[in-house]
């Protein structure tokens, strides 16, 4: 070997070994640190989970939860198997509540506005200063004898916190405490008040029914108490008895509709007439069980007349009527395709009448009214409306407004001019821990805890025809410098002084809550059974997640006076058909609900169950309609109503009427954190400002739209590749007769 080559080998060897050494070094994990406790907390063993029972507050259903906490961190939320509402289930929204707790966009400290309103420029202040500033404002109002000019607007709170908030407002000398939110289903409650005498939603016993006729109730995804109904639905279909049948009446096939045996896409706005035509057919055929009160009214809704209005063949109406009356028990529920119109109360009453005619009220597998046996249920006050607030603000009758939980700037149509009204309010405070669209208008922000950090209670409405009282308990210590919502009211009362402080004397909300439960305990003898006094009861209730009693059967007498609210006409849609050819159906999306879920990334990346779309808004258009407009999937279109315009990509959806388009609600935020902001479009913006004058519920299905091709822009991101099988035999089918033959062979 030449000397030269030898040196070369040495060189190459050296470089190789060096490279190997470096790779060995970098591929090793960096020296991790072991950080001990300074002083170990007594009740924590690292690595061992503690489970706390609480309640999910992400919607009004009130599902019981069990939260897994490790080393003081909430890791996972599960359904509480012992809780009568959800029996162990939990929806996607509830699962994501940990992401609300640890959300990077939470407001972590009290803030004071720096820039002009809506600019989002805030400076951090101390709690002391925040409370003093707000109290000083209220004291000034009081001293000028303008107490009535103080308004409190919250999400539909219930239980003890609702009582405390109410006490605060009335002790201050104001009567202006209102609840606001989409999907409060106040039309349904009002219809029940006028037919059955209680302003609440009854327990729909889906579990035990054999024929379920749902008018657009998407009960397996968002409607009223989805986890409870899904559980019941599973039992109805695959429980011990005979399999129940589901018929879904709605213009746009929802997740629930996709599960149905039959889909009846009646013309939007005429579903209530269909319900009445079915009821009338039952009467005419002599199948009615209880029709005395309605014979006269119903005779106006003959199946043969209604068929063409509703776009449902006479034969089909008659077949449904016979099946509904003959199958025992049967149940009709008034979902959004009867109650979300401007005559929604009329629609919900129509369904109540149908139930009564078929004899479904107060029976197992039918409509089971809920009693308010604990004397602490959510009281729906139909007078508390957003329109009252808007007109008061416009008339300079609001000087100070406190907002919590509700986000009306996002959930009210632009036509309501809410933002303009808010600009006339001299002082706005928000108790939200998120910078939502309404909070962005606030002058001062006093952030409250999320539900995993706070105390509270819940009396679910609808219940399950049994008394249920659940406790919300803090499962972790506060992550940021936020305060318990109740404590904010209590400390504010102290700071305002006078008779407000005299009325609200509890040292903190935890004590206030406990005292309130002590009262409940002493009033309800059933609660005392098997306990050794209140403390024992309280500890047991905290462990279980609350207290619930045995179910009780309630009946209701139906009042014929409800008939006065029947309009007997199809619901009106704004916009001329010639200019605006399509009905617009904005619907609650499984994950985002009314938009509250949009700031949680798990929900953004959760594919929509029907379309598989993620991270955006889309518009569902029937493939035939799209073809006639020359549109294909993913094309950006403008959706234009007489009140405004939004744009979204097209999703071709065979499960929608050709004369209807649907857009999910929830996206299109201009604030609300990094995951929600600037994504998709909000269909509520282009709705007319329509509110039921009796119930105050917003009419969502109320306008027509036109579709025009838009600029290219947002992409449609979805999981599914194609809706076709391409001969791959993914879904195997057999005909019913063949199935029966096969079954016989097996047996």
């Amino acid at each position: 070997m030449k000397r030269r080559d030898f040196l070369k080998f040495i060189g190459i060897g050296g470089v190789g070994a060096g490279a190997g050494f470096v790779l060995g070094k970098v591929s090793k994990p960096p020296g991790a640190k072991l950080i001990p406790y300074l002083i170990p907390p007594e009740d924590i063993i690292p690595g061992v989970a503690t489970w706390y029972a609480s309640v999910c507050t992400l919607c009004g259903a009130g599902c019981g939860t069990l939260v897994r906490v490790m080393e003081g961190r909430a890791k996972k939320v599960e359904g509480n198997p012992g809780h009568p509402i959800n029996r162990g289930g939990l929806c996607a929204l509830g699962q994501s509540s940990v992401q609300a707790l640890y959300n990077p966009d939470r407001i972590t400290k009290p803030l004071k506005r720096k820039g002009p309103r809506g600019s989002g420029e805030y400076a951090e202040i101390t709690w002391d200063e925040a409370l003093k500033t707000l109290a000083a404002n209220l004291i000034e109002l009081k001293s000028k004898n303008e107490s009535e000019k103080f308004h409190l607007l919250t999400s539909p709170l219930g239980g003890t916190i609702d009582r405390l908030a109410g006490e605060f407002v009335s002790a201050f000398g104001s009567s202006n405490y209102s609840h606001y939110g989409l999907f409060q289903r106040k039309n349904l409650a009002f219809a029940n008040l006028s037919t059955m005498g209680t302003a609440s939603i009854p327990h729909y016993d889906i579990e035990n029914t054999k024929y379920l006729l749902s008018f657009g109730a998407d009960f397996s995804s968002t409607w009223v108490s989805p986890v409870n109904y899904s559980n019941g639905y599973g039992k109805m279909r695959q429980g011990t008895g005979e399999r129940g049948k589901l018929v879904q009446v709605e213009p746009r096939l929802s997740l629930t509709g996709a599960n149905a045996d039959e889909w009846v896409p009646a013309k939007p706005g005429t579903e209530a007439l269909l319900a009445l035509a079915i009821a009338n057919t039952i009467v005419e055929k002599g199948l009615a069980r209880d029709a005395s009160a309605w014979r006269g009214v119903l005779s106006r809704y003959k199946a043969k007349d209604m068929a063409s209005i509703c776009d449902v063949p006479v034969e089909r109406i008659e077949a449904m009527a016979v099946e509904f009356a003959r199958t025992r028990p049967s149940l009709a529920i008034a979902g959004d395709s009867v109650s979300s119109y401007e005559n929604g109360i009329s629609g919900a009453i129509a369904v109540n009448i149908l139930n009564q005619v078929a004899g479904n009220i107060g029976v197992i597998g039918g409509v089971m009214p809920n009693g308010d046996d604990l004397g602490n249920g959510k009281k729906i006050d139909f007078g508390r409306k957003i329109s009252t607030l808007i007109s008061a603000a416009n008339a300079d009758k609001i000087k100070t407004l406190i907002v919590y939980g509700a986000n009306p700037v996002f959930t009210t149509p632009k036509a309501a001019r809410l933002e303009e009204a808010l600009s006339k309010v001299p002082f706005i405070a928000s108790f939200s821990s998120f910078m939502d669209e309404t909070t962005a208008h606030a002058d001062i922000i006093l952030p409250a805890h999320t539900s995993l950090e706070d105390w509270g209670d819940d009396f679910p409405d609808p219940g399950v025809a049994a008394p249920v009282a659940s406790i919300i308990q803090p499962v972790v210590s506060p992550v940021f410098e936020t305060k318990s919502l109740g404590d904010i009211f209590i400390e504010l009362a102290r700071a305002v002084g006078g008779n407000v402080a005299g009325k609200i004397t509890a040292p903190n909300f935890a004590e206030y809550l406990k005292a309130s439960w002590k009262g409940l305990y002493s009033r309800n003898r059933e609660m005392a059974a098997g306990t050794l006094g209140f403390e024992d009861f309280w500890n047991k209730a905290l462990q279980r997640g609350g207290w619930w009693g045995p179910s009780r059967k309630m009946t209701a007498t139906v009042s014929a006076r409800a008939g006065e609210h029947l309009t007997g006409a199809p619901a009106r849609f704004e916009g001329e058909e010639a200019q605006y050819p399509f009905y617009l159906i904005p619907y609650a999306q499984t994950a985002y609900m009314d938009g509250r879920g949009a700031n949680l990334p798990w929900l953004q990346e959760l594919p929509d169950p029907m379309t598989s779309v993620v991270w955006g808004t889309w518009v569902e258009i029937n493939p035939k309609t799209a073809a006639s407009l020359g549109l294909k999937e993913g094309d950006m279109v403008n959706i234009e109503s007489p009140f405004g315009k939004i744009s979204a990509p097209v999703y071709l959806y065979p499960g929608i009427r050709p004369d209807t388009v649907a857009v999910p609600i929830g996206q299109g935020h201009s604030h609300y954190g990094r995951y929600a902001k600037g994504r998709g479009a909000n269909p509520i913006e282009i709705l007319p400002y329509k509110e039921d004058p009796l119930s105050g519920e917003a009419a969502l299905n109320s306008t027509r739209v036109r579709i025009t091709r838009g600029a290219t822009g947002e992409r449609l991101v979805k999981m599914e590749g194609s809706t076709k099988e391409f001969g791959r035999g993914i879904v195997q089918t057999v005909s019913p007769s063949e199935f029966k033959r096969m079954k016989k062979e097996v047996v």
């Binding site: 080559d5 060897g13 190789g16 070994a17 020296g31």
Partner: protein, 168 residues
């Protein structure tokens, strides 16, 4: 051409050697700790039982790094003039935890509970070696899967070869 291949082979062999030299001789088996803590003095000379400081070993997945209060429990009085103890005291005064360097590290995909092993009567020494004689703690086991399994085999652990026993 032949030469080129030869170069590549030599380079390759050198690379592998370099890697192993690093892995075997430069791995931090006994990293320098923020406090010069001696297990020999504590567990050896003074015979303090392991679980006096590693308090969770019998109850949890983790054995527990001794909390600073536990150190100060004794060292408020004992050896307060030693500079190392004064370091401990200064962490305590600042209310800061001591940032120990991890010696035994398992990847996230391994579920290893101390509790099950301690309760089954496996001596700490089995995996951590003769700690009582170590002035500075040193890693004595590879913690590789084969090493775990050989013990599971020897002790005839029920379901001890099931993937799901350790990879959950």
């Amino acid at each position: 051409m032949k030469k080129l291949i030869l170069y590549a082979v030599v380079g390759g062999i050198a690379f592998v050697i370099g890697y192993f030299v690093n892995d075997q001789f430069f791995s931090d088996r006994a990293p320098v700790q923020p406090i010069n803590f001696s297990h020999k003095i504590h567990a050896g000379d003074n015979q303090i039982p392991c679980q006096y400081c590693h308090i969770y070993a019998e109850r949890s997945r983790v054995s527990g790094v001794p909390n600073v209060k536990r150190c100060m429990g004794c060292h408020q009085i004992i050896k307060t003039d030693s500079p190392e103890i004064q370091k401990v005291a200064s962490y305590w005064d600042k209310k800061e935890p001591i940032p120990w360097v991890k010696v035994y590290n398992l990847p996230d995909h391994v579920y290893f509970p101390h509790k099950r092993h301690v309760r089954a009567g496996v001596d700490c020494k089995n995996c951590h070696g003769d700690v009582a004689s170590m002035a500075r703690i040193e890693k004595v086991s590879s913690l590789q899967m084969g090493w775990c399994l050989s013990c599971h085999t020897k002790r005839e652990v029920k379901n001890g070869h099931d993937c799901w026993t350790c990879h959950k």
